[in-house]
Symmetry: C2
Subunit: 190 residues, 2 copies
């Protein structure tokens, strides 16, 4: 592949998820992931600290985009949960495109099968809620509204994402997020 | 104390929380907890599997009561989040009384200071949400409404509980839960 290694990160991610899904997370080695991607272990470690980071490496960026998008939407006059929903829809359109769906499903299956990874996923969601609540507070939403809106936003994301990866696959994630936010309104009986 | 050891569990819990708060969770031994409670280590292990279970031993019972209460409230015709809120208020009135507040605050401080315990708390909350969602589905609430209502209910509990233990202390938890549920309605903008 030469030293440019085009899309090395994406190839490593795909190879890792395929191996985690077929042989299990614990049984897969970094050497095998690198070999399957046609790259070296050294290249793997240039992109990921360890096997686990392949699954969670994007969560910092996701959180950052979500906070930024929410703050922009608040500035446009949306309510707190509406603002988070708008930010989620934008991220969904840009990041969680149709081609990502199979990978996202493999990722979720690996996480579901492994208690440590499920814990890590819970921590990721809690961190997202905490970052969102902080951003809402800084932009004029008082508590407990800020904390509740952040939890509601993360719940919308979690439930919509699950529907996206298990559903028939023809619907964009952004549509499912909007619909899920509407269902939350109806169950809270507001 | 004799072999009846009146309220051994409660005494051990109080002693443990006081020691965790003053010396730290890691530095506290079961022998010290038992001694402070005026009981033996053997008695400790009759009530708790380990030091951690003092903090989480009640979560199974809480989850069970919450599910039962929610199912009863659904049967009375309440909406899904209203039903969970009603169940939470009942549990609050029975279990989280004013005298429990200082203990609950000590418990939360210990958990906040320890990453492993924070993870365990997240798992407890996720388990509560999952149990609630299952109960709602079994009683005619379809998804994604069931999953969302369960997440919303847990968010109400988490936020209200935090307000109860950090607030001025004169308000019963049930009042705070009801108010918090109202705030969730207003932020979702239903």
């Amino acid at each position: 592949m030469g030293r440019w290694e085009p899309n090395a990160r994406g190839r490593l991610e795909k190879a890792a998820l395929e191996l985690y899904a077929t042989r299990g997370f614990d049984a897969t080695t970094v050497a095998e992931i690198a070999a399957r991607a046609g790259l070296t272990e050294r290249t793997f470690f240039r992109h990921f600290a360890d096997k686990r980071e392949v699954l969670f490496g994007g969560s910092g960026t996701l959180e950052e985009h979500l906070v930024k998008g929410t703050v922009s939407a608040l500035a446009e006059g949306l309510g707190p949960v509406e603002a988070i929903t708008a930010a989620l829809c934008q991220i969904a359109g840009e990041t969680f495109t149709g081609e990502r769906r199979a990978l996202a499903r493999d990722r979720q299956a690996v996480i579901a099968s492994h208690p440590d990874l499920r814990e890590r996923e819970l921590i990721k969601m809690a961190s997202m809620a905490s970052a969102l609540a902080g951003a809402l507070r800084e932009h004029g939403v008082s508590d407990p509204g800020a904390a509740l809106a952040a939890e509601a936003g993360v719940a919308i994301f979690k439930v919509a994402f699950g529907r996206w990866i298990t559903g028939p696959g023809s619907r964009p994630l952004a549509d499912i997020i909007r619909e899920t936010a509407g269902v939350l309104n109806s169950v809270t009986g507001g």
